[in-house]
């Protein structure tokens, strides 16, 4: 009996210490969204349950190893105890109710993360290897970064141009895959101003690690200024083919793989700096002049001409619905990069 009392006390003490230790070291990143609150509430109960169950098993185990160790020279067996049916029933039924309770709490906290605000601001997210782009349909422009006002629900309508990606900002907690051929929904209400990063969380190829964009949460006032700035930029940019081309290259995600400063991006393609008018060697050993015809063919039918040392481009202009006018604008932009 004494053994049980000692172990009982130790289990309680160990549970409390484990719980305090785990919560004390700061397990999660800052809480930057309204959806993070019910999720962290759930985490807290789980850490409690874990601390208790950990102690419940480990304390008697270690206690037995110390107290019930075989004495030197003792060759007899221990007491013959085959089992105890009421005890087995207890430790089947209590956990059964516990898991049902936890599942219920899990469903409740999931429901809280899915609360719909009909006034939510819609942003269309397009993912592709290895970039995100954000279109603001209400304001008529596209951005490489997600910029949003604090305390306002965002509804991200997401799709992918190639493979499966996933949208995850650790400070927001919630994660949602982005699937080609369909739209998935991501609702989030940022509650803390700051600069975060969205990172792709579903392996999407060699450049997966680097697939990320800035997420900037600002006050409503600063957001309005940013919108005006972007709109002015978009207006100015639509005046000349070169600027339109730059804009198109952003929205089609070209910069996920091609730099404009001469560097090579991981698992990407050749840099656009000094590309136009250069001679390039193809995989089959032949050399071609980079002109309008070559660039057009490379975009619309990427497998036909692969540059030596690179994999075929994953972006396909025909599939993505690039028009001839778009192509002309993009080529005009590439020509400026000398």
């Amino acid at each position: 009996m004494l053994h049980f009392i000692i172990v009982g006390v130790l289990v309680i003490a160990m549970s409390i210490l484990t719980y305090l230790g785990l919560t004390g070291i700061g397990l999660l990143p800052v809480q930057a969204s309204a959806q993070a609150i019910p999720i962290d509430w759930m985490f807290d109960y789980q850490i409690m349950a874990m601390s208790f169950l950990f102690s419940l098993i480990v304390v008697p185990l270690i206690y037995s190893l110390i107290v019930f160790r075989r004495r030197k020279g003792d060759t007899t067996d221990a007491e013959h105890i085959e089992g105890n049916t009421p005890l087995e029933i207890i430790w089947t039924v209590i956990p059964l109710f516990a898991v049902i309770t936890f599942a219920f709490m899990g469903a409740k906290s999931l429901g809280d993360t899915r609360r719909v605000d009909p006034q939510a601001m819609v942003i269309n997210v397009t993912a592709q290897q290895f970039a995100f782009s954000f279109e603001y349909p209400d304001y008529g422009f596209t951005s490489k970064e997600l910029y949003a006002p604090v305390n306002k629900q965002l509804l991200l309508k997401m799709t992918s141009l190639d493979v499966i990606h996933s949208f995850w900002v650790p400070e927001f907690r919630v994660k949602q895959d982005i699937v080609p051929g369909r739209f998935t929904e991501y609702r989030i209400t940022p509650i803390l101003e700051g600069v975060y990063k969205v990172r792709c969380a579903e392996v999407c190829g060699g450049g997966h690690a680097g697939m990320q964009s800035f997420v900037e949460i600002v006050s409503q006032g600063r957001f309005d200024d940013w919108v005006k700035e972007k709109q002015a930029e978009a207006l100015a940019a639509s005046q000349t083919p070169e600027d339109r081309g730059k804009l198109l290259s952003t929205s089609f995600g070209c910069f996920g793989c091609h730099s404009v400063d001469g560097s090579l991006l991981p698992n990407g393609g050749p840099s656009w700096l000094g590309l136009f008018g250069s001679e390039t060697e193809l995989e089959d050993g032949s050399t071609v002049l980079v002109d309008e015809a070559y660039i057009t063919q490379s975009i619309m039918d990427p497998a036909s001409q692969v540059v030596k040392g690179f994999s075929p481009m994953t972006f396909n202009g025909t599939d993505a619905g690039l028009t001839e006018a778009d192509l002309a604008d993009i080529i005009a932009y590439i020509k400026t990069l000398q």
């Binding site: 397990l27 037995s64 650790p170």
Partner: protein
Amino acid sequence: MKKFFKSALARGLLWQLIGSLLGAGFVTGIRAVMGLDPLGRFGFSEPAWVFGGLVGTLAFLAGNGVASDWAKWARGIPTHDHHEDPSGWEKFINVSLDHKVIGIQYTLTALIVLGLGGTFAMIFRTELAASGLQFLNGTQYNTMMGLHGIVMIVAILLGIAGMMNYLVPLLIGAADMAFPRLNAFSFWITIPAAIWLVSSLFLGGFDTGWTGYPPLSARAPVGMQMFFLAVFVVGWSSILGGLNLLVTVARMRARGMTSFRLPIFVWASIATSLISLTATQLIGLSFQMVMFQRLFGMGFFDPAKGGNPVLFQHLFWFYSHPAVYVFILPGLGIISELLPVFVRKPLFGYRWVAMSSLGIALVGFLVWAHHMFTSGMNEYLRVPFMYSTLLVAVPTGVKFFSWVATIWGGKIEVPTPMLFVLGGVVVFLMGGLTGPPNATVSTDLHLHDTYFIVGHFHDTMFGGFVFPFFAALYYWFPKATGRRMNEFLGKLHFWLMTPSFLVMTFGMMRIGLLGMRRRISDYDAALGFDTTHLVLTVAGFLIFTSVLIFVYNLFRSMKKGEVATGNLWNSRSPEWQVASPMPAHNYDRPFEVVGEPYDYGLPGSKFVEFANPKQ
């Protein structure tokens, strides 16, 4: 060396090479005639590699002679029931029908493949020791990481097959498995598969990780196809092995061995075999569909052709989640089997422990979509899958409570096998406790695809397989060889591996919670994970070193180990009642079960009684 070149293994490998070239050449010829480009980026075209791989696999089996008895029967030629094995080491590289030899073949192959998987881990762990790309590019990293995953899975499948093959007939008093030729076939088919698996490394690799999700896997290099082919072929081994085991237990038990007098490891093997017999088809099917999508343009998972990429995930996880129970149930069975021996007390609640294995196996079929909470499948499906997944905790809890109750009040001895049993309990507990947050949808939205998951499943795989596997090797090594393994080296192995492993998985979970994603070749230095990653890498190398110590101990003890031919652990189990090493056809006298398997501490009781020799 001469013995090697004359062996079935060498013959099979040679035939595999020739068969592959013929198969690939055949397709290349057809392509040339049809006016298609006959060659591809890696010499042969992709269809030629796949067909060559298939023909090569069959050629291996034809060449090494594992199917020759069946061929003889088909032609009406009688064969011997048994084939006598040569006495030397060469029996392990030739076709044997003895379940003990096959068990050891499986185990040795598992150790080799385990070493290979560990080497891949060391390579990419070194890359991750600091932020920034050091010496691998993204695709190479992904290939290493994907191969580590699948190679370890194959190693585990081989390891459990090794334990079940060696132990189950001995524990139930059978002379062999029910279908010895099928048993040999199940083993030998894994060898060509393992070769194709590694060949993917030289055929452009694959950048998808071991899950091979399309559309990414539909665009990956040819290596992806060899990976699919290899897994497809290994699946045959699992299915046939499961079938063989179930029939063996159903038909070949000793007299008096009723359901609830079966050794507990046999119950675990039944539960495992039920899963591998009925679920493995689904991973084969899902991979085959991607293979066909690539080869024949069938757009199963291609949205542009009306396919559905999420469907693949359902098919894939319908096997791949139950598969984790295939990996752990035998290990948990080993824990339950060895604990009573070392605490000298009966297994607490034997029937409950036996039924909890079946419970885990059955509930395990209803939980697959918990891998897909963020996948974009129907939202409302997430809650029922959360309930079913959390239910797994109940039978798992029964096991833990029963183990603690078994240990409580015992007379505990802690030689090396018991150390690994206890290590397995603690490590599996860590894996078990970190499971429910992943099963709960709301918290999983944060945890999915992070290092938290990586830490969690390494805990379950080590606690559920690696630790019990080592315990079993230390424990039954004397049965197989008549010598015991060195205790000091065994303890060194344990005390080097366990703390390093716990540090490694805690570190993984910690940075996972803070935002470290899975399957990334590089991480943002701004996250501040550099120090932790360095610690993880050092811990990984310590684990690798400890396994090298084990391997040294294994080979050294085969020749120089202390002789141990008797009932070394003072066990009640039938295999320890006869002298070690076990004779070729097992028990020369049949035994009858006259008591309970784990009645330690009950004076005068016996589990089995051997028949009188002169009757």
